[in-house]
């Protein structure tokens, strides 16, 4: 018997974007309020896992044709690159820089290189979680 997942799938389509927006909010708010790359990454992978539950693995990999191992490696590259960037300025490793930048639309914004490091953490968490889920899920 073919089951009908109409309600689950429709709800997922709505809820998915709310979860992803929330995870981005958590990620960017990490410096001043609870949150950061780790929780943000887990929430994003939670959203993708919800998509996998509502549809199936094959459909999701068509929607998001991503090799998650490369995502994790890219994240490591971001974090390692932020750390190694200090080498070029002859300051101790991982010394972060920050400042106020006048962006076109957002106006005066405080930017900090720790965010790039956090983005690395975010990507590693998404990559690792999704690799684990995908490998176990596709295992026969």
């Amino acid at each position: 018997m073919k089951t009908n997942d109409l309600i689950l799938q429709t709800t997922t389509k709505v809820v998915l974007f709310i979860i992803i927006l929330f995870s981005f909010h958590i990620f960017f708010a990490g410096h001043y309020t609870p949150g950061g790359g780790f929780v943000g990454g887990l929430l994003t992978s939670g959203a993708i896992i919800l998509l996998m539950l509502a549809f199936d693995m094959k459909t999701v990999s068509q929607i998001l044709p991503i090799n998650y191992i490369y995502i994790a490696a890219t994240g490591l590259l971001f974090a390692g690159g932020t750390a190694a960037g200090a080498l070029f300025f002859n300051v101790p490793l991982l010394t972060h820089a920050f400042g106020h930048v006048d962006l076109p639309i957002l106006g005066d914004t405080a930017l900090h290189t720790a965010t790039i490091f956090d983005l690395g953490v975010f990507l590693v968490v998404v990559g690792v979680t999704m690799t684990i889920i995908q490998t176990i899920g596709e295992d026969e």
């Binding site: 191992i69 994790a72 490696a73 490591l76 390692g80 200090a86 080498l87 101790p92 490793l93 991982l94």
Partner: protein, 494 residues
């Protein structure tokens, strides 16, 4: 350049990441891994020279002042160990080309190997006790991957044991750090030493000292915590076995050396006496295992346990001589154990078995292999002028000076039995009537032999040229014997 001491750690880290992107292209992986490892040897060598000329190097990561941020410290001991690690990493990588098999290489073998090196070098370089824990985890995670990679039955079984033991010991490590933090309120190793100096040795600190001994003893394999080691090291293929045997246990040994010469030096009557008794039993257990087995892997594995006992006996005696001997013997042992594992790896590849009773007469067809093994055996046992000699002489001298006649005597006697165990392999395996083995023509013995020959050459030069190397070793031992040097280098204004 102020970041120089982090380079040996950063290079394998970035290499490991880069290699993930080339997972399916084995040739590119090999080239990148080998070149970066060779480059790292050069960097580590320059670091040793820098420490020799300018004294202890420290780096306050993120520009935070010493006790508040993470400080990386490269004194002579850690610089020498980093150099040894990079050499072993390079030789294991070039040995892997011909032996590990494309299937394993495609499944992130080289990235895992590079992350293992990151963990080992980080553990040798860090000056923060919790950061030490993190680097322990980095190297352990990588070692789980390397141990299980390939997925044969024995590997799966032994990996479960290995992970179980290490998860428990890591939990104990966290608990020990939590206790220590609640007593001294700091995590910086130099700062902990200062605080412990103010407190003197109260009962709780002795308890923490023993807890640390249990934790690092489990990682390093001292009696009675070595039980997981013979089985787990038996499972993986030869280059991984060489990395494990040469590096992993030695990180535990290094951690005991560090904590027992920097932190817990106020009630040596109890803690160091305990360490001494355990190390002596470790030596005895190790030699019993080494002479009991007729399996070549098991013989070398039990020789690791003997060496751990000998090195830590030198630490427990705590005289300048014995500490110098321990440092000398530690580096000697790392190099020669890696060489021996690679050599028996070739023997197993030729004969298809590790049972000594089924091997004989190898020297007729493989004289290069035979004589390299013979020299390696002499080096291991400490026949003068080879490198095992100087370290052991100093350890025994330190033992007699502080009137530990039993301990020093057992260290001396152990050499004889180690020589016996290793000569048993040579006599039974290489002499006798030559046999035909299935599939031996497919083994590229000459190409495999490059890596162990490099290691044995280094080992011989290390012994013959001990006159030149000795100033470096004694500089390393000076920091151990006199912790205030270390503290002043880290906490500048204290």
């Amino acid at each position: 350049m102020i970041n120089f001491l982090i380079l040996p750690l950063l290079i394998p880290f970035l290499t490991g990441i880069l290699l993930i992107f080339f997972a399916k292209n084995v040739v590119i992986q090999r080239w990148i891994a080998a070149i970066s490892a060779l480059f790292n040897v050069v960097i580590a060598f320059l670091l040793v020279q820098k420490v020799r000329n300018d004294g202890i190097q420290t780096l306050d990561v993120s520009s935070w002042q010493a006790p508040f941020g993470i400080t990386l410290v490269s004194d002579m001991l850690s610089a020498l160990l980093v150099l040894t690690t990079t050499i072993i990493a390079f030789t294991s990588i070039i040995y892997s080309f011909r032996s590990i098999g494309v299937e394993r290489e495609k499944y992130f073998y080289y990235p895992a190997l590079n992350f293992l090196i990151v963990g080992v070098i980080g553990a040798f370089t860090t000056g923060d006790i919790f950061n030490l824990f993190v680097f322990f985890e980095v190297l352990l995670m990588a070692s789980y991957v390397l141990l299980v990679l390939g997925g044969t039955k024995i590997q799966l079984r032994e990996t479960i044991k290995y992970i179980l033991v290490n998860v428990i010991s890591s939990a104990l490590f966290v608990i020990a750090v939590a206790y220590l933090y609640s007593v001294v309120g700091t995590l910086n190793m130099a700062h902990i030493s200062v605080r412990l100096d103010d407190l003197g040795q109260s009962g709780i600190i002795t308890v923490i000292a023993v807890l640390f001994l249990i934790v690092f003893g489990l990682k390093g394999g001292i009696f009675p915590l070595y039980f997981w080691l013979p089985g787990s090291y038996y499972a993986p293929p030869a280059p991984v076995m060489a990395l494990f045997g040469a590096l992993l246990t030695k990180v535990g040994v290094y951690a005991i050396m560090r904590t027992y010469t920097l932190f817990f030096i106020h009630d040596t009557g109890y803690t160091h006496q305990l360490l001494m008794i355990l190390t002596i039993i470790t030596i005895v257990v190790g030699v019993i295992g080494a002479i009991a087995f007729s399996d070549i892997k098991k013989i070398i594995i039990y020789n690791i346990i003997v060496a751990i006992g000998v090195i830590l006996f030198g630490v427990s005696v705590m005289t300048p001589d014995s500490l110098t001997g321990s440092v000398f013997y530690l580096i000697h042992d790392m190099v020669i154990k890696a060489a021996l594992f690679l050599l028996i790896g070739i023997m197993i590849a030729i004969t298809g078995t590790s049972d000594l009773r089924k091997i004989s007469g190898l020297i007729r067809r493989y004289p290069g292999l035979g004589w390299t093994f013979f020299i390696a055996a002499l080096v291991l046992a400490g026949i003068p002028p080879f490198s095992g000699f100087v370290g052991k002489v100093l350890i025994v001298k330190g033992g007699f000076e502080s009137e530990q006649f039993w301990g020093a005597g057992i260290v001396l006697a152990s050499s004889l039995l180690v020589l016996f165990s290793i000569m048993k392999i040579f006599i039974n395996g290489f002499w006798g009537t030559p046999q035909d083995y299935k599939g031996e023509t497919n083994v590229p013995v000459r190409k495999l032999l490059i890596a162990p020959v490099i290691l044995v050459t280094i080992s011989v030069l290390y012994g013959v040229g001990s006159e030149i190397i000795f100033p470096y070793i004694s500089q390393a031992a000076e920091t151990l014997a006199n912790p205030s040097v270390y503290i002043e280098a880290v906490l500048k204004e204290w």
